[in-house]
């Protein structure tokens, strides 16, 4: 997807962010199609927030570009922000401002401001409009920020770990609001999160940052289709010439040896391959199960010690 195409709401191109000698993002390229919900995943310190700040024009990349609607966001931030709603990692509204005042401030900046919609959302969230932002709970702050981010009907919504520190109810409110927004207007969403189960239901595409590098960037559907967990017993009494070669047809992301047999995660699962696998001498009781996004994430970025050890 050409990142300079105005129909591409968000894209980064060979983006690198360095802090002194430390590299937060290394040569990252990705793009978010119109109407997509892109979930950028990664462990703490993987570079997600740096990438988001670059994407919002709040930080200049060391090299590469961040584009919104085909324009370099560093150069045209102010104009582009009229089309973007932002929910930052830490709700950042001035602590002395009430939700009503924040809405009043935003109303002067956005010609398309929907005050009634904002009021409805705040009411739905149960946020008191006259209490200073600094005295609201973490969840309420997040809800105020989300209400403001949606107040001008943005074409792109950028959320940086919006559920961080939220309780289950607040998380549910947030996702319901997002789902409603998607259903009503088809807003493009780019979000980073650690709440993998929460985002699994709404994300259409996922990317995984690992040590600043984008190690995975794929549609959720294909991602979940190609990742499978395979469990099988290993009968060593047969005439097998070598141990551990039965998974060679797969791209094994992780293999663990358990007492009962082998527990493997593969990233190129196909029924035909699996049928062939089952026929291999020594493979017994083979079964396959789909994986959640969290399981896939853990397989890709977590438990480094296991990698290559038993494969």
């Amino acid at each position: 997807m050409n990142p300079t195409n105005a129909s591409v709401p968000a894209a980064v191109e060979s983006l690198t962010v360095r802090y002194g000698r430390a590299t937060a993002c290394a040569d990252v390229s990705l793009s978010v199609a119109r109407g997509a919900v892109y979930a950028l995943l990664g462990r703490n310190g993987a570079g997600k927030s740096s990438l988001v700040r670059c994407l919002l024009g709040q930080q200049r990349p060391s090299s590469g570009r961040a584009m919104l609607f085909g324009e370099d966001v560093w150069k045209a931030r102010a104009r582009l922000m009229a089309r973007v709603g932002v929910v930052p990692e830490e709700p950042d509204a001035p602590p002395a401002m009430t939700a009503r005042q924040i809405a009043g401030f935003c109303r002067r900046l956005y010609p398309s401001w929907d005050q009634a919609g904002v009021d409805r959302r705040l009411e739905r969230f149960g946020v008191p409009p006259g209490v200073p932002f600094g005295r609201l709970s973490k969840g309420e702050k997040g809800e105020v920020v989300l209400a403001m981010a949606l107040g001008h009907a943005p074409e792109l919504l950028v959320l940086d770990d919006p559920t961080l520190g939220l309780d289950a109810v607040a998380r549910k409110d947030l996702y319901e609001e997002l789902i409603g927004e998607l259903a009503d207007r088809g807003t493009t969403v780019f979000l980073t999160t650690h709440d993998l189960s929460g985002v699994e239901g709404i994300a259409t595409r996922a990317g995984i940052l690992k040590d600043g590098r984008l190690v995975l960037d794929e549609e959720m559907e294909t991602l979940k289709a190609r990742f499978r967990r395979i469990r099988y017993g290993n009968d060593r009494s047969g005439e097998r010439s070598a141990f551990g070669t039965e998974l060679d047809a797969f791209e094994a992301v992780r293999v663990r040896v358990r007492g009962w047999g082998i527990d493997a995660v593969v990233s190129n699962f196909a029924e035909s391959l699996f049928e062939q696998f089952r026929m291999i001498d020594g493979v017994v009781d083979a079964e396959v199960s789909p994986m959640s996004l969290e399981e896939i994430f853990l397989a890709v970025v977590g438990e480094k010690r296991e990698e290559g050890k038993n494969t």
Binding site: Y19, R53, L56, G57, Q58, Q59, R60, R77, A78, R79, L80, M81, A82, V84, V86, P88, E90, D92, A93, P94, A96, M97, Q101, F105, C106, R108, L109, Y110
Partner: protein, 659 residues
């Protein structure tokens, strides 16, 4: 504009508590007269208290808001709230600072309001000026500086050390350059450059603060880097530019001067040249110039111009010997006050390579009058080491060692004239006040004393007067006779130089110009102009008129006395009263023996005629036939050497049109 206005409004709303506090403080200030320990009028006490508190609020809020509103929000990334909106970086920066400035200004106004209303809506002009200047300083200077410092200190980058080092480097360079310029007494140039430099540096601080926000955005460390990248090249460049400007100013030569003033040595080829250098920022510069070679020495243009010894082999002058407060110079360019220590310098004109050398003769303030002996080895000065209004000591020093040879108390006086009869003998003429006379002028008399330097005795030898007002005193080289020009009394009298006894009345009545000198053969030449015309009068040594030589007839003329170009031949300058100045004169050669006159040039003025002014040495008159008598200034301000017999002219310094 929408973003800027919204941001500024938001800033004001956020700090409205400061406005409330200011109003309460204003009420307290208005109640200041109720306190029992004040000693002024209630209105003035209230006014002063309100202004003091208002300025404190303006300054305090400028510093506190300037150092926090942007830098703190960038450091904790709360600035992202604004950057996530369609507001330009300039609007965020400008709105935040404008809002802060409005809060500071509004707080100051609210402090003043109660006192202003109680004082019937009036404040004094002085208080208003102080208030406006203080508030402008707080808002225009403290706010942007505090903002820049806030960014620098909150980033916690190791770069802070480099910033401090660069600050010290730039401050030292600017201070040293300032000291250099002021030491060279280029005060006007320094003041102009200092104002330009301050504006440039303030502009750099403002621009760097903006760059920090525009390029750093939500990254405080990048903000600090952006600020430093813009600020230091400008600051160091400005410091270098300032130093180059100072070098250019200080390297002024006599050829740069316009509208010069020349004072020649009574013997030899040296002259003092001073004037403004319009091509070098217009400050005064002072030189010793050898007319035969064109070589010159630049002097600090201090309190007094050099005095040449009678033998023409030494020049002595005063220079300031301490630094001055830069701030006092900004507000008071007339810095040459009476409280600055001064040191005498000496230059042996025959030993040019040695250059001017400081002596160890210092005074806490410039002496009222001083003179050097004919060989230039001794200095006599009338001064008051306590810095009082009148100078009450006369002292004699040996210049080479600064040894005090003799000193004596003298009565209070309004003017003093000194001259060495010999290196061991000093004649002192003290102008003593006799109280207010006609036209509110101070009537005065001259008390004559002599100091025996070896015997360390001061003896009063006579008195002259009374006179109606300001005096001009001329003596012959041995001071045996003295001429007093009493302008207010409209008379010119000849006296015995030691006893003061009046020998003759040389001239009386209304004169438009009047001057006199002793010729080499002892006769007296007097020039004067009146409604009937201008004339030269020749008197014998005892004041008997020998000849009257008319120069111009009728009113509207002035006449100046030049030097004795050859024994018995004097130069006079005649100009119409409508002429712009003496350089627009016609110079005439007057034979004092035959009465014949001959024009030697127009649009000329003899250097001698100009050099009379501002002298303390009553015996100064160049020797007959000396180089000084042949020096003239033309209408363009050129200094020229004129051979009166051939009319040949040699330009020593090319003139520049007057600025």
């Amino acid at each position: 504009m929408r973003g800027l206005a919204a941001t500024a409004r938001r800033e004001i709303e956020e700090h409205r508590i400061a406005l409330l506090a200011a109003f309460v403080a204003g009420l307290l200030a208005a109640g200041a007269p109720l306190l029992s320990f004040h000693g002024g009028y209630p209105r003035e006490v209230r006014e002063a208290a309100a202004v003091f508190v208002a300025l404190a609020f303006a300054a305090g809020l400028s510093i506190s808001l300037g150092s926090s509103v942007l830098s703190r929000e960038i450091a904790n990334r709360r600035i992202g709230f604004f950057f996530a909106r369609p507001i330009s970086s300039a609007a965020i920066w400008g709105g935040k600072l404008a809002g802060s400035a409005a809060v500071a200004a509004g707080a100051a106004a609210l402090v003043l309001l109660p006192s202003f209303l109680i004082n019937h809506a009036r404040f004094s002009r002085e208080i208003g000026s102080i208030l406006l200047a203080g508030a402008a300083l707080a808002l225009a200077v403290l706010l942007p500086i505090a903002h820049a410092l806030g960014i620098v200190f909150r980033s916690r980058l190791p770069r802070l050390g480099a910033d401090l080092a660069l600050f010290v480097l730039a401050a030292a360079a600017i201070a040293l350059t300032s000291r250099w310029l002021i030491g060279e007494t280029a005060v006007d140039a320094w003041r102009r450059a200092a104002i330009a430099l301050a504006c440039l540096l303030l502009g750099a601080v403002v621009a760097a603060g903006f760059a920090a926000v525009a390029r750093g955005r939500a990254d405080i460390q990048e903000a600090h880097r952006a600020l430093s990248r813009l600020l230091w090249p400008v600051v160091l460049g400005a410091a270098a530019l300032f130093a180059a400007y100072a070098k250019w100013i200080v390297s002024v030569g006599p050829g740069d001067l316009a509208w010069i003033w020349v004072s020649p040595a009574p013997r030899g080829d040296w002259v003092t040249v001073t004037g403004r250098a319009p091509s070098r920022a217009g400050d005064n510069a002072l030189f010793l110039l050898e007319t035969s070679t064109g070589e010159f020495v630049k002097l600090k243009n201090g309190y007094a111009r050099p005095v040449f010894s009678a033998d023409g082999r030494a020049a002595v002058w005063l220079e300031t010997s301490s630094s001055v407060s830069f701030l006092s110079l900004l507000s008071r360019p007339e810095w040459m006050g009476s409280s600055r220590p001064v040191r005498f310098y000496r230059f042996a004109l025959g030993e040019r390579s040695a250059g001017p050398s400081p002596t160890d003769v210092l005074f806490s303030s410039p002496p009222r009058a001083w003179a050097i002996s004919s060989d230039g080895t001794r200095l006599a000065a009338v001064n008051d080491e306590t810095g009082g209004a009148s100078a009450n000591f006369v002292s004699v020093y040996e210049l080479s060692t600064a040894r005090l040879l003799a000193a004596a108390a003298i009565p209070p006086q309004v003017g003093a004239h000194l001259l060495f009869l010999t290196p061991d003998h000093l004649r002192i003429y003290l102008e003593e006040s006799l109280g207010r006379g006609a036209a509110n002028d101070v009537a005065r008399q001259l008390a004559i004393s002599e100091m025996d330097v070896i015997g360390k005795k001061l003896i009063e030898t006579g008195r002259m007067g009374p006179f109606a007002g300001f005096l001009v005193l001329r003596t012959d080289p041995g001071a045996s006779r003295a001429i007093v020009v009493d302008r207010r009394g409209r008379k010119m009298t000849l006296h015995d130089g030691r006893s003061g006894r009046q020998i003759a009345l040389l001239s009386s009545g209304e004169r438009r110009s009047r001057n006199a000198a002793f010729l080499g053969d002892g006769r007296i030449v007097q020039v004067e102009s009146s409604d009937t015309g201008t004339r030269v009068r020749i008197f014998s040594s005892d004041g008997e008129e020998q000849r009257m030589i008319p120069i111009r007839f009728g009113p509207g003329w002035r006449i100046g006395l030049g030097g004795e170009i050859l024994p018995g031949l004097i130069v006079v300058a005649v100009r119409s009263e409508k002429a712009a100045d003496w350089r627009d004169s016609e110079c005439l050669l007057v034979d004092t023996r035959t009465g014949q006159t001959r024009s030697i040039g127009e649009h000329l003025s003899p250097a001698v005629a100009i050099a009379w002014w501002g002298r303390h040495d009553p015996s100064w008159y160049p020797a007959a036939g000396s180089e000084a008598t042949r020096l003239f200034l033309d209408a363009r301000g050129s200094l020229i050497h004129l051979d009166a017999s051939t009319g040949e002219r040699r330009v020593i310094l090319a003139g520049h049109p007057s600025p």
